[in-house]
Structure formats: structure tokens, C-alpha cells
């Protein structure tokens, strides 16, 4: 059934037990995102080790889709470089049908078990595509992350 496709166990798990929730003591970059239509709110704080994200924290309120997407995102980007994060964001947007610029004719699909799976757990969110009004819920954390990263100039991120 479609609802089970949307509300997969991994999503509900991240919703109930959000990872990296809270605030960083001394974040190097941060951004706030809101969805004015539904009132979902999110604050993302990031610290870097060189070019790589060393720490990330998320605080916010919202539906299971927006909160689980944020939680899974924090796990996925920890330790990743800017370029790697850009690639993740691109794959995420592609999964949400927000980015059709990628030639995926040779794409092995979105099976999280497949070798080289980029998004891992996050691919559980693909069910959201069937619910166009909820895509903005899933995207909120990612858009806010991009804002936080664009906030952090290269100078301030090097240690």
C-alpha cells in the first residue's frame, strides 16, 4: 500500500528518535529554515574540520517527513566534504524529482543495498514523490543546509 511506502519504518524511527538533535556549542555556520505554508521550522548548525563537516546539529518542529529527512541528512553528511555534500544534495533533489539534469540512464536505481548507494537510508524517502505536497517537507532540511553552507565562507571554515 502507498501509505506504507511513504511511512517506512526507517522514517518513523528517525522521526521518533532524531539523530544529532540539539545545538552545537560553537557552530561555525548556521541557518534557519521555515515552511511558511505549514509552519515547519528547522535550525541547522555546522562545524568543520578543514573542508569536511565535523559536527552538525538540528533543532526543529514539523511532520515525520521533514524531521526524519533532517535526521537522516545529518548522518549522511557528517565527515563529508563540500563536493561530496553537493553530490548528495544533487542526488536527493533528483530522487525528489526536483533535479532532472542528471542523466540516470545507467543509474542502478535507488536500492539502498546496491553497491555504491549514495543516499543510503535517505532513499527511504522516495515514497514522498507520490505525495507532491509533501516534497517541500522532505526538502526543508536540505535547503536549509545549503543556506548554512553558503553562509560559511571558505576562510572561516579552515582551521
Amino acid at each position: 500500500m502507498a501509505l506504507e511506502e511513504l511511512y517506512r519504518e526507517v522514517i518513523l524511527d528517525h522521526y521518533r528518535n532524531p539523530r544529532n538533535k540539539g545545538h552545537l556549542e560553537d557552530p561555525q555556520a548556521s541557518a534557519q529554515g521555515v515552511n511558511p505554508l505549514c509552519g515547519d521550522e528547522i535550525t541547522i548548525e555546522v562545524s568543520f574540520d578543514g573542508d569536511k563537516v565535523s559536527e552538525i546539529a538540528v533543532e526543529g518542529q514539523g511532520c515525520s517527513i521533514s524531521q526524519s529527512s533532517a535526521s537522516m541528512m545529518t548522518e549522511a553528511i557528517k565527515g563529508k566534504s563540500r563536493d561530496e555534500i553537493d553530490e548528495l544534495v544533487k542526488r536527493f533533489r533528483q530522487m525528489m524529482s526536483l533535479d532532472t539534469s542528471i542523466d540516470d540512464s545507467n543509474d542502478p536505481g535507488l536500492d539502498p543495498e546496491r553497491p555504491g548507494s549514495v543516499l543510503g537510508d535517505i532513499e527511504a524517502l522516495q515514497g514522498v514523490r507520490q505525495y507532491p505536497v509533501r516534497i517541500k517537507c522532505a526538502s526543508l532540511a536540505w535547503n536549509t543546509l545549503l543556506e548554512a553552507l553558503s553562509d560559511a565562507s571558505p576562510d572561516s571554515t579552515s582551521d
Partner: protein
């Protein structure tokens, strides 16, 4: 139990089997309304108030007949007190800017409430900033009603206007507007009522209500979108400046100046919603043929059933009054461990349409300590089966999220 089940056949959109519980946002349209607009557009349509030809005369007559019908429906003393606008929001902005900019200044206070829709709050914030007046709010009680004692204590000679909802679009609460108007008038304040929910669901007699301005929309009362009403008592309208300038609203125009047309036309700049006025006329005829007493009673009966049945759903909390006293057919709910948007998505899979979110009342949401609620609202075409489907869907949500 009132039986309005025969009406359902008048609403073609319900043939899909949808359990439509979002009439508080906008109501569905019955065939007589659709047919009246269609017939008018096919046979009598032209612009109003400006043609010497027969069609324009027929169109003008239909438009003015709608005004007369609205006046009669709300008990206006004079049909010129009925102004057609784009909707409740435009009606309230007309008062805030047209009246407020003329009569508010530093040292004056605008008194509104914590349960207002943004449409009866944001315009007053804007006008307060421009005039230097301050904005003050009456809080709600723990059971979701307007705190009348605090309202009374906040009234004073510096309060120039009281802006209050006739029925909360989130809680269903119906403040005692007649009493508020009485109290406010003792202090010489004008009273503005957001009646977007009140008029469709209980009807209004503006004489009995006692306010100075009353705003409502057609689309929430079985009529089309694009038209609403601002009723103003004549003396209040006389001290209101036009909020929009343009065609239709002038008496004379030179290159540097203009004088206004008579009331109500000075408040209706540009080509008005003519076909929509005909639709609103038909919607009022339809509601009157049921009887507003029965419309309200039907809402009440469904609300009683919903309140009772919802109290059995594990983890569910009603936001607002949990009894029938002074409330309309709007029920807001939250469910432990499940966000309102997830509820709405799951309910939609069961073909139950409810609203989820902040309902354009963010200050009220903060005051309730929630970011969003799921809201079911009832109207003449709803029946007990719709509530059964709602309850079934809520339980299903509990199962999916593992909270039941």
C-alpha cells in the same frame, strides 16, 4: 437529528465519495449556484453601471439585486451599507486602511484578540505601524474562549477600535460579539467583526450583533470565490475613506484631484465581481431555503457526535472548547506522536479531506503550544458517515505510527 441528506445530491463534487471536512477553508458549491452563474453569463452579462444598452442594464439590475439580497439576509437597515469586495480579507483591509488611517494616531489603541485569523490581525499591525497606534490583544482562557473579563479591563478611552472574530476558524469558539460591541461602544470604540465563519454557519443579524463593520466571504457559504462583503453601519462608512482608487468609485476626476461617488460605489473601484454576485445571491437563496437555524443545528449535531467520538481515540486532544456551548462546527485536534500533516496525508488516503497546519492563526497556535493542528469543519452536506470515516482514518494513523 436533522436530516439534510437530500441536499447532498446538489453537490456534484461529492459524487466522488470524498468525505469533505474542510468547509471552514472553503465550501463546495451546489448546482443552483452553478446554474445561476451559468445562466446569467449566457443571457444577461455585461459590465455594470456604465452601459446605456439593455444587457448592461440587465447586468446592473442583477448585481444590485444581489446587494439587496445580502442586505436582507444580514438585516442591514439600508442596502447601500453592503459593499462588495474580493473577500473577507479585502473587507477587513478596507476597514483597517480606509477607516484606521483616518482615525488612528499616536496614543490610540487597537484591541484585537489572540484567536484572530491573520486577516484580522496583520492589517491592524500594518496600520498601527503607519499611524503610531498600539496594538493590544485579549487572551483566551484555558478552555479556548475569549477572556471577557480581561477584554473588559483592557477597554478604555484610548481604545478606538475593537477587532474580533465572530467564530474562530481554529477553535470554533463564538465570542459574544453583541456584548463586546455594547462594552466597546461605551468607550466610543468602533467594532469590526471577522464573520467569515459566523455568517455561513449561523447567519448574522447586524442589528442584533451591534457591531460597526462586519466582513465575510461568499466562498465559505456555498457561493463562488472572488466576492465577499463588507457591511458597515452608514455613519461608520461615512467616516471611511476609499481604500482603492480607480473606475466606478469617483464622482468627478481632474488631472490632480477626484471626488468620490456615493456609498457604496466609492468603495468598489474597478469592475466588480458581477457573475460572482449573482452566484452569492443564489447561495443565499439556497441557505435561506434550508433555514439558517437548521444549518446551525446540523453543524451542532455533527460537532456533538465528533466531540464524543474523538474523545475515544487514543492520544487525541481537542484544541478548544470540548462542549457545544457557544461554538460552531470547527474541531481542531492534535494526536500524540503524529504531526498534523501526517494525519492529513493518512486521512486523505481514506478519502477524508481535513485541513492541517496553522490555519493562518500563528499567534493562536503559539498560545496553544502547538505548531499545527488537524481541523475538521462541517457544513450542510456532511453527515455522520463523514465522522465515521474521520475516526477510522485517525485510528489508522495511530496504527501506522505505532501509537495505538
Amino acid at each position: 437529528m436533522t436530516d439534510l441528506s437530500h441536499l447532498k445530491a446538489d453537490f456534484p463534487i461529492l459524487e466522488s465519495g470524498v468525505h469533505f471536512l474542510d468547509s471552514g477553508a472553503s465550501s463546495q458549491k451546489p448546482i443552483p449556484v452553478l446554474e445561476a452563474m451559468d445562466r446569467f453569463a449566457r443571457t444577461s452579462y455585461a459590465n455594470v453601471h456604465r452601459g446605456a444598452y439593455k444587457l448592461s442594464v440587465a447586468s446592473t439590475n442583477a448585481y444590485e439585486a444581489a446587494r439587496k439580497r445580502v442586505a436582507e439576509f444580514i438585516g442591514a437597515a439600508d442596502e447601500r451599507e453592503v459593499i462588495f469586495t474580493r473577500g473577507t480579507t479585502t473587507s477587513l483591509n478596507t476597514v483597517a486602511f480606509g477607516w484606521g488611517m483616518e482615525h488612528l494616531g499616536e496614543g490610540d489603541r487597537i484591541l484585537t484578540t489572540q484567536m484572530e485569523h491573520h486577516a484580522n490581525l496583520v492589517p491592524w499591525q500594518m496600520v498601527a505601524k503607519r499611524t503610531g497606534a498600539t496594538l493590544d490583544h485579549v487572551p483566551i482562557t484555558d478552555d479556548g474562549r475569549l477572556d471577557m473579563a480581561i477584554l473588559e479591563s483592557k477597554l478604555g478611552p484610548d481604545v478606538k477600535v475593537v477587532a474580533v472574530t465572530g467564530m474562530s476558524n481554529v477553535l470554533g469558539t463564538m465570542p459574544d460579539v453583541s456584548r463586546i460591541a455594547q462594552l466597546a461602544h461605551q468607550h466610543g470604540a468602533r467594532v469590526v467583526v471577522d464573520a467569515a465563519q459566523l455568517v455561513p454557519h449561523s447567519g448574522v443579524d447586524v442589528q442584533q450583533l451591534g457591531a460597526d463593520f462586519v466582513a465575510f466571504s461568499s466562498h465559505k457559504m456555498l457561493g463562488p470565490t472572488g466576492i465577499g462583503v463588507l457591511w458597515g453601519r452608514m455613519d461608520a462608512l461615512e467616516e471611511t475613506e476609499p481604500f482603492e482608487g480607480g473606475g466606478e468609485m469617483i464622482a468627478d476626476v481632474t488631472l490632480h484631484d477626484a471626488t468620490w461617488a456615493e456609498i457604496p460605489h466609492r468603495f468598489e473601484a474597478g469592475t466588480p465581481p458581477i457573475i460572482e454576485a449573482v452566484g452569492l445571491h443564489a447561495a443565499i437563496d439556497y441557505l435561506d431555503s434550508i433555514g439558517m437555524d437548521l444549518v446551525f443545528e446540523h453543524d451542532q449535531e455533527l460537532t456533538a457526535i465528533a466531540l464524543e467520538r474523538l474523545s475515544d481515540v487514543p492520544g487525541l486532544a481537542i484544541q478548544g472548547p470540548t462542549d457545544l456551548k457557544d461554538r460552531g462546527g470547527v474541531v481542531s485536534m492534535t494526536m500524540e506522536g503524529i504531526h498534523a500533516h501526517d494525519l492529513a496525508t493518512i486521512l486523505d488516503e481514506q478519502n477524508v479531506a481535513v485541513r492541517a497546519g496553522h490555519h493562518c492563526a500563528k499567534p493562536l497556535m503559539r498560545c496553544l503550544g502547538v505548531t499545527a493542528t488537524a481541523r475538521a469543519s462541517f457544513y450542510v452536506y456532511n453527515e455522520e458517515a463523514d465522522i465515521n470515516a474521520l475516526i477510522h482514518g485517525l485510528r489508522r494513523a495511530g496504527e501506522i505510527f505505532g501509537t495505538i
